[in-house]
């Protein structure tokens, strides 16, 4: 959820509570004020009426018409000295409805006669008051929220612009390009701090990445040189005259192991280079013609193993990738399909505009085929191969977000790469 929506919801909730509480308070205050006003009026009225009564003829009072604001009844004796405030409903024949009145009732002796006097005033009924208050409150609330949301959205959009800019920069940041992030400063301290922190972090990441890169390259250099020395010394030793068969065997085994070690080192360096995304140059590669070229270079091997090749190039397949990685990827796939084939065997290569599929006959391998993508996992444990070929294929595919699937069905090994999603 967007921060803006979060704050909007929060504001909405808080203002709802404030407005509800405010409404209740407003209503209570309103009611008290009105009540007090009415009560004061009633008391004024009482004084006024009493003065009139005192002045008027007592007989006149007896015939005083009963009105909705004043009623005077002669009584025998005064029951209570206290005044009594109460609410009552009186039917109004004009409006054809009951109207609420506040009345002040009291007993009074005037000119030797006892009277029960009631002064009244119509009051608005509570429900209609409540209704009015809440309608007003509601309208105010809506207006408030609308204005608040609009202002909030506008202000937020403006305020968060530097944030989104920074976010965009981070998203487009490519570590392998080894550029330091430079972010613009804004007038907001928090975002400036964020920008500075991120810039510092990117510098640090770059430094670390460069150290790692240098380490990888240096490691390759440092390991390859002694390997080269061993390899060459063994080669010279092998030429020494008068070597016995056993001695030759020893030299040859040492030489083979050195060879293996150096291949392993090379493969691991390539893997780490791929995984560190150090190949960012991109060229347009024609898969079909590259496969043709590789098959041509392997022509005699294919003949020796009596492998029949079927090519189904339905459409031109062009991919954008680093030429060296493309070479490694395609050579690995094609050579694997030749190497791990049966004699005689078959290979079928199919391409369309976005997929490459190589199916070859091979041994009935079981187990988890996906595992073959892991390093040092081989389908045949006795094989002298390094078990890195498919890991390299996978690493290359991952770099370019190609989808690679490997399956073994009825003695046919099928590898399929989807270059576009």
């Amino acid at each position: 959820m967007k921060l803006l929506n979060k704050t909007n919801i929060f504001f909405l909730g808080v203002s709802l509570i404030i407005f509800s509480l405010g409404g209740i308070l407003f209503y209570l205050l309103f009611q008290i004020t009105i009540d007090n006003g009415i009560n004061a009026k009633l008391h004024e009225r009482k004084e006024y009426n009493l003065k009139q009564i005192v002045r008027s003829d007592s007989m006149m009072l007896l015939f005083q018409k009963y009105t909705d604001v004043l009623s005077i009844k002669p009584v025998d004796k005064i029951i209570s000295e206290k005044e009594n405030l109460s609410d009552t409903l009186i039917y109004d024949s004009v409006d054809n409805q009951f109207i609420q009145y506040r009345q002040l009732s009291f007993f009074k002796q005037v000119n030797g006669h006892n009277y029960f006097i009631q002064v009244r005033r119509a009051i608005l009924d509570h429900t209609s008051l409540l209704k009015d208050v809440f309608i007003l409150e509601g309208l105010l609330f809506l207006a408030f929220i609308t204005v608040l949301t609009i202002v909030n959205n506008q202000v937020s959009k403006k305020l968060w612009t530097p944030f989104y800019f920074i976010l965009d920069k981070i998203n487009n940041y490519k570590i392998e390009l080894a550029q330091n992030l430079s972010l613009p400063r804004s007038s907001i301290n928090e975002f400036n701090e964020l920008a500075i922190a991120i810039e510092k972090m990117s510098t640090k990441i770059n430094d670390e990445f460069n150290i790692l890169k240098e380490f990888t390259e240096n490691a390759s250099h440092e390991i390859q040189t002694p390997l080269a020395i061993i390899k060459n010394k063994l080669e010279i030793l092998l030429q020494a005259p008068g070597l016995s068969k056993d001695q030759m065997d020893l030299i040859s085994s040492a030489s083979a192991a050195t060879n293996r070690l150096s291949k392993l080192n090379e493969a691991l360096i390539i893997l780490s280079k791929i995984e560190n995304r150090q190949f960012h140059e991109v060229e347009d590669i024609s898969v079909n013609s590259n496969i043709d070229r590789i098959l041509l270079s392997m022509e005699e091997l294919i003949k020796i193993k009596s492998i029949s090749i079927e090519r189904h190039f339905h459409e031109a397949l062009h991919i954008k990738m680093h030429p060296y990685l493309a070479e490694i990827l395609l050579e690995n796939l094609v050579i694997n399909s030749i190497k791990h084939n049966t004699t005689p065997g078959s290979i079928s290569i199919t391409t369309d505009s976005e997929t490459l599929e190589i199916v070859n006959s091979g041994n009935h391998s079981s187990g988890n085929v996906e595992k073959l993508f892991q390093r040092f996992v081989k389908s045949n444990p006795k094989s002298q191969s390094l078990g890195l070929g498919l890991s390299i294929v996978k690493a290359i595919c991952d770099t370019y977000s190609f989808n690679v699937k490997y399956a073994i069905e009825n003695g046919y090994h099928k590898i399929r790469i989807t270059f576009r999603k």
Partner: protein
Amino acid sequence: MKVLVIEDEKELLNSISTYLKMEGYIVEEARDYQEGSEKINLYEYDCILADIGLPDGNGLRLVELLKSKQSNTGVMVISARNSIEDKITGLDIGADDYLTKPFNLSELNARIRSILRRRKFDGKKEIEFHEIRTNPETLQVFVNDKIVLLTKKEFDLLIYFIANKNKVLTKESIVEHLWGDYIDSADSFDFIYAHVSNMRKKLVEHGATDYLHTVYGVGYKFTDHD
């Protein structure tokens, strides 16, 4: 044939010059950029071998220096880094070939021979070994002037054997020579065997002496001595 080897790693330099001397070259050595540039300025060579990563400079600069002085000298660049950028730059500024460490001395030797052959405009471009005569440009092989049809790999194999005659060649070095880096040598010995025996059979059928000796468990030796 005079060859200058510029390599900072003493032992590697030693091995290279030992092997090349066994092959009959006159070898001069340089341990760093300074020494290399001095020798290039003072003497003439048929071929130089330059390591890219020298302690006091880039070997590629030496190649440029050499090309400005002796344009007909063959150049082999060697590098510890299998970097295509280096390879492309090296070939762009006039290197004839590029090898990544670690390499087989037999491979180095075969490549130097090929560079020298291509550089020698006046001399013959054919390679002869007793009754066997090959032409690397036309990929033709003759035994006693009769043509023998070899496949591309068999031809490469023959050139490689002749270049390293009288040397024991390991199966690994042969695999690398024929297929480069991308094939695991251990899985490929059957193919080597097939190629070698086909080549041998064709040559012998056309009346050539069988110069190829199997060194059991190790590899082969192409020799006219017994």
